[in-house]
Symmetry: C3
Subunit: 207 residues, 3 copies
């Protein structure tokens, strides 16, 4: 069990730092004050995992049980607030790459944790997707805009793919670390390719 925990813990903490910086960046652009920046960092970084933990009944959620999660989110958010000038000069490509990495880490860790809690494989795949996309969705709700994940190019679909690899890999008896690497890689690659080549999901054109 200890081994499995760490399969979840390391990507979860890495994703937390990346998403917290993104959240802080969005908050600074939206004109929030220091506390608003820290709240938004925490929500983007921890929101997806908290929703997953509530839904799979893992209470209190990791982010409440383990002080390292909120502490890391705060420190990352404070860092992005203090060095906002430098963060603003980062290339969009780098930010997209980091975001794709965070998405991959969370999707994989979320699906793995749901499986550890004996959640049905189909739903464990959805829980991985929720872990990856939940924080950004709540961010957009708080900033009063239609959640990006619902309208944008392939984003949640990439998380779905990464989570599905973890779930199918477990069925096939692969070691968790292997499926985590393959699943995370697939999610990351699909997300980056979608941005690079402008792939979109079908949409209905209303007359």
């Amino acid at each position: 069990m200890k081994h499995l925990d760490e399969v979840v813990l390391v990507p979860d903490l890495a994703g937390t730092a990346v998403f917290a910086i993104e959240g802080a960046n969005a908050a600074v652009h939206a004109g929030l004050d220091l506390l608003g920046v820290l709240v938004l960092s925490s929500i983007v970084a921890l929101g997806g995992g908290m929703i997953r933990d509530l839904l799979i009944g893992a209470l209190p959620p990791s982010a409440v049980r383990d002080w390292r999660y909120p502490a890391l989110a705060f420190i990352s958010g404070l860092f992005a607030f203090l060095f906002h000038t430098q963060v603003a000069t980062l290339s969009p490509l780098l930010l997209t790459t980091l975001d794709a990495a965070g998405l991959a880490l969370f999707a994989v860790a979320g699906a793995q944790k749901a499986l550890d809690f004996r959640i049905n494989p189909f739903i464990a795949t959805l829980m991985g997707t929720v872990t990856g996309c939940g924080g950004g969705l709540v961010r957009d709700v708080l900033l009063v805009r239609v959640p990006m994940v619902l309208v944008t190019d392939i984003y949640a679909s990439a998380a779905l793919l990464g989570a599905a690899v973890v779930v199918v890999g477990k069925r096939l008896g692969c070691p968790p670390v292997v499926t985590a690497v393959i699943g995370g890689g697939a999610c990351f690659a699909l997300r980056i390719a979608a941005v690079r080549f402008g792939w979109q999901l079908p949409k209905i054109k209303m007359a």
Copy 2:
């Protein structure tokens, strides 16, 4: 207990299909992509029940424990996406009738489930209302508009009536199936009458 479970399961699944189609319809009109449509279907169909289950401590929620709920929501949402042209030609009257049926099914199933979890009768009535209205409320939040249920003609009030019949019926020792039918009928009739005759709840007119 098996009998009681089915009293909840059948209306819950029927309401799920109806609300998922409505959610997909709203998502198509809001210009969301295929994944956004499936997410919104699921949220409208499953959101109210998930909020109820979180609040009464029935974890994981039915929609996470039982893969039939999300599978049904996805299939219904996909159906409405593929046949959006046909769905768009449905008469408003038919849509209102189906929605009132879904509301009645959820209000009754929600109150019954809260009672099964030994929730106080007053609060079980509120939980039935939350089950009926929660999904639509989250839909409106995601589409960035003031939740219809807070401003519109008699909607949550109809759910409240249906849930109250179930709760009072249990107090009087009526069989659950009987109170479910009467409660659902009362909710449906009040909702349809409110739309037909333009009934409204009182509002304060600000000068």
Copy 3:
């Protein structure tokens, strides 16, 4: 334990009444109907505590387990609806003072309850803040505006201070009633001083 319960119960109920009246007031101004007013009263009054209870795993939340919470929120909301003319004539200063009192009561009660549930001290401080600010945040989301707490003068920071006093006081072995009074007083004083003197948290000015 009974004593500790009451340390939480009394300020929790007092804060509930104050916040319900505020919620009703906001709902009347936003043009909601009677049911919308009661829903918003309940959310402002009970939302913060419900989020806290979900996150610390105290299920079902107090507001679901104990009918006095929603009943008090409804009665306070109904009162503010019926006497909206009188409520509208209350001075802004009085409303700010009552709100600061509600914030102080909730922050202190929330931190104390989290400690009672053996939550880590750092996170118990955050839970006190969530209890104080959560209801208002959900209110703003439902009324489709950026949550005041994220952009305004010192508000959540005052709740953070009050909660921190309770948590540190417990570490130092002070009796709960004493730390509750000091923590609540500190939160109240900081909030009132921030409004009076126009104190703000730092914000990044975007070019």
